[in-house]
Amino acid sequence: MGIIKKLPVYSEKIPGGAIVTTSVEQVLNFAQAKSLWYLLFGTACCAIELMCTGASRYDFDRLGMIFRASPRQADLIIAAGTITKKMAPRLRTLYDQMAEPRYVIAMGGCTIKGGPFYYDSYSVEKGIEHIIPVDVFIPGCPPRPESLLEGCLTLQKQIQQRKLGDWQEK
């Protein structure tokens, strides 16, 4: 797929192994991008596609995406599904409990702008962007697993292009 770019490293073979020289930024970004553990946060039908992506056919694990049941262990929230006004403070709490650096993927139409069915509902938050900062939006109702994989690859690219210390400014 050509997604794993070669790290700019200097490698010199020595007897019994090799010495690798690279920058801390490269190593940190590489490690963080390839081990995005996501929080189990499925609130509606997008969660079904999220489960499908995690299952064997699409195999989320090969990108280093492993689901976590606790926000303390997670790097990423995939907000999969409608966020109601009652759910919004809970989402914010979960986001606040995550350790930095933390990322958010808004999956599906409901999390982007209230969705194709709930745009005139009294109970649905019109987009999660004003609750938590979003890194990647994935449109669709619900998005297919391919779209979700594409969104995660986009996020990984963003992380790998990041300069050291960028996340502290958030």
């Binding site: 006004k85 009652k86 702008k113 209230g114 745009y119 005139d120 009294y122 109970s123 019109k126």
Partner: protein
């Protein structure tokens, strides 16, 4: 007891309390005055011919002229279903609670109070449980209700 027999029975025994309103496709539909509601419900439950022991559903209706509370009742022993409709004024609508007769009415009445603003008298726990706790934007299921964050569907 089929629907014709039920209608004849109610019209002969409850003539002063229930008015036959309209027969839907399935259930008979009677109108009850708000003052008589609890008495009628208690009578329906105790009547040995009817034994209405199951509270299926309670719905609110906003017809813009008045409010309606629609009670869907059933009897598990006599295998009959019956609907009651209470017409309420549009200003200060209030209805008596029937939770002493069917405890299941408790949450339905809370929901109706929360979404339609129909006051329920003699209710033991009239608090919010669907809307956010700090909700102060009125009653969202009313026809004249409007939310500031509605996204208008464009006129095509």
């Amino acid at each position: 007891m089929n629907n014709e027999e039920l209608k004849a029975y109610i019209e002969s025994n409850y003539a002063s309390l229930m008015t036959f309103c309209e027969s839907g496709k399935y259930d008979l539909w009677f109108e009850v005055k708000a003052d008589n509601l609890v008495r009628v419900c208690q009578k329906l439950k105790d009547d040995p011919e009817l034994l209405i022991d199951y509270f299926c559903n309670l719905g609110g209706v906003d017809t813009t002229e008045n409010f309606e509370a629609v009670y869907n009742l059933a009897s598990s022993k006599k295998k009959i279903r019956i609907d009651l409709k209470v017409v309420l004024p549009h200003e200060n609508p209030s209805v008596d609670s029937v939770q002493t007769i069917w405890p299941a009415a408790n949450w339905y009445e809370r929901e109706m109070w929360e979404l339609y603003g129909i006051q329920v008298n003699n209710h033991d726990n009239l608090t919010r449980f669907l809307l956010p706790d700090d909700w102060d934007q009125g009653y969202p299921m009313r026809k004249d209700w409007d939310a500031p964050d509605f996204i208008r569907f464009p006129d095509l």
